[in-house]
Point group: C2
Chain length 406, copies 2
């Protein structure tokens, strides 16, 4: 089936009946230009908070299966409300839940992975001329339980559905007009990026850009889904995330990101026991804790080895416990007041000295770098949290991101 | 599997986190006495109203499939909250949605009928020692869409599950302590009934007793499910609904019911055309409108025939339209200000003159009877709505229901 457009509308876009009506009108205007439309929706803004408050009043540690069953209702309601709204405007629309369009996931409740999507049901409904509305962020486990996909899960649903259907594009409608060179709340002169490669977007999402979650970008990259990020409240092309093209190589740094959501854990001691650090990180992975940066120094003959790594703040207590259980004699410290600042650019592949420039800019203001991690197109530095905004502005200015580039 | 107890907790019992905790404690005390527990829950009180308000702000006539998808979330949330609460008290409990325990229904959205229940899943979970919590009032249609069962649907789920599992009893926990001889808000001396036959309960539910809905009673009767109605807020045996036994025959009238929810439609004209009245009522049934009383007079040679029938008030507009479409020349009138007063008692089978006594009691106070309908164990009279409370009190006193009977 050709000419399928997948769109996703976030919680703020679905925040009230009036906004849902506005979204319905947008969808209708797109339907006039596109033969087949699939729309993925998030829960109405505020709904998730309401449900969290309900569960928290019972227990701080709910069984994740029950948690998922509760949270999936947010998207269930908003999808049906949007379908009703389109129907009331005399358009043929119908809402479906994850399990109804065969979105099969693993059983990792609250952060499940999509395993497969049964496209036949969607094709059949599109073939009848229907606008297919899908409740985002949810699927069904092999045991037949409702799962949710975690943060950014509705984006992931949209991208995965677009990939499975071979859609011509996947458009993510949100409350910002695209991806910016830095957080506009920090850099008032941050510039909207017209086009960015999957790899760069993946690095930006992994290092703190909040608009897209990294799994959605990875899924788009793996299946070459043309991904647009746009505002549902204003006109504009937004940002296109796509394959890298030659013009992108000229851009040294595409964007600056920051991330205050991680904690650093440092371990010093005899880490060679029990399979060494590989064993440590496999224990941490078993608990579904995502480790971001890892820095290990090479121990000399005398000294004990030491390793530092970062994990999401909310997983820090659990991760420290795992370390202590494994290395009873090791010295474990942690720091929740850190921030990770990153510069991302495909141009780094062909231009030397970008990292050095970054260190230089930070050093000039006496911002101490505590950890460094690099990839082909990214340099990340962990600094003290209080310097976050200062560092972002310095780097944004230093790499001349506000200016229009040729 | 033996020794299974099915319980159902209504919306007011689940009205807040505190009340859910209280229900969880009740369930635990029952679990200690019963090997296997299945609990069916309604949505938290107020939740359904909130969801109705949401849909009404979009359209007065939502597609019923979307409506069902929204309303089923109420039970989805309350079931998971109860499971979480039991888990937080260290009990092994898990929540399931209708489709997850194979509650298959027809596709009559918003008032679906249960076709079958796949007991295997429930048996398997009970076998593991789990308290099985089921979101009430919902199932899945042959097309794989979520359906809801309509008013009293959670009771129906409980009774149907109890029947399918061969449970030793089904206990309906509500905000009243049982079935009364008349509405206690009208008759302050109304008496709680200890034991009532399925047939009588069916007539009471059909004629206005609100505690149990008639489909639940019919299902219990068809499968000989011992049904208890009790308060979740106070101790007590409540009312047992069961097979008729010899002692019940001595009771002339078991209860008085009233129903203000119907409208009367009268048609006068040449109704012989187009298949006659059978055709009329099949057209009405096609729209899922339930006709209650039907009174037809026998036309003499000259006069045209006339028929009167009652339908739920909310279906009156549609029913009148059906009549007008079928009989273009007929004279159609309707009255929304009517009330149906009924006396029910298994003893009527063996005692003559009960109906006459009822007419006499009403006539003495000049209450005009507009329609009469009788069954083996029931007499119903349609009267003017304004006389409802007066008539109930007169009959309750006239048939000496407040007094203790031997």
């Amino acid at each position: 089936m050709e000419n399928i457009l997948v769109q996703k509308y976030g919680g703020t876009s679905m925040g009230s009946i009036e906004k849902i009506r506005h979204i319905a009108e947008m969808i209708i205007s797109f339907k006039k230009q596109n033969e087949h439309m699939v729309v993925v929706v998030s829960a109405m803004a505020g709904e998730t908070d309401r449900l969290i408050a309900l569960t928290k009043s019972i227990t701080e540690m709910p069984a994740l299966k029950e948690y998922d069953s509760i949270f999936a209702t947010g998207e269930q309601v908003s999808a049906a409300l949007l379908a009703m709204t389109l129907q009331s405007m005399r358009y043929n629309a119908e809402s479906y839940l994850g399990f109804q369009v065969g979105i099969r996931t693993d059983a990792a409740h609250s952060k499940a992975k999509i395993l497969s999507i049964d496209t036949q049901k969607i094709y059949t409904e599109l073939d009848k001329g229907k606008i297919v509305i899908i409740g985002g962020c949810q699927g069904i486990s092999p045991e037949g339980n409702i799962t949710t996909l975690g943060r950014g899960g509705s984006d992931l649903t949209a991208v995965a559905v677009a990939a499975a259907l071979g859609a011509k594009a996947c458009e993510i409608y949100t409350d910002v007009s695209g991806i910016f060179t830095a957080d506009p709340r920090i850099c008032s002169d941050a510039r909207k990026i017209e086009k960015i490669s999957y790899e760069e977007m993946l690095e930006m999402a992994s290092t703190g850009a909040k608009v897209l979650e990294r799994r959605s970008v990875a899924c788009a990259m793996n299946h070459s889904v043309r991904l647009y990020v746009r505002s549902s409240f204003e006109q504009g092309q937004g940002t296109l995330v796509c394959e890298e093209d030659p013009t992108m190589e000229n851009i040294l740094v595409s964007g600056i990101t920051h991330d205050k959501k991680e904690s650093r854990i440092s371990v010093r001691g005899d880490l060679g026991v029990k399979g060494g650090v590989a064993n440590l990180f496999s224990h941490i992975a078993d608990k579904n804790i995502v480790v971001d940066m890892i820095v290990q120094n090479i121990p000399d003959e005398e000294a004990k080895s030491s390793i530092s790594f970062t994990v999401p703040k909310e997983d820090r207590i659990q991760a420290v416990q795992i370390v202590k259980d494994l290395y009873k004699d090791a010295h474990v410290t942690w720091n929740d007041s850190i921030s990770k600042i990153s510069i991302i650019g495909a141009g780094m592949r062909t231009h030397a000295g970008v990292a050095a420039t970054m260190f230089d800019i930070l050093a000039k203001e006496n911002i101490d770098i505590k950890m460094i991690s690099t990839s082909e197109i990214k340099v990340s530095c962990v600094i003290e949290e209080k310097y976050t905004e200062l560092a972002v502005r310095l780097l944004h200015e230093g790499f001349q991101l506000a200016k229009k580039k040729s």
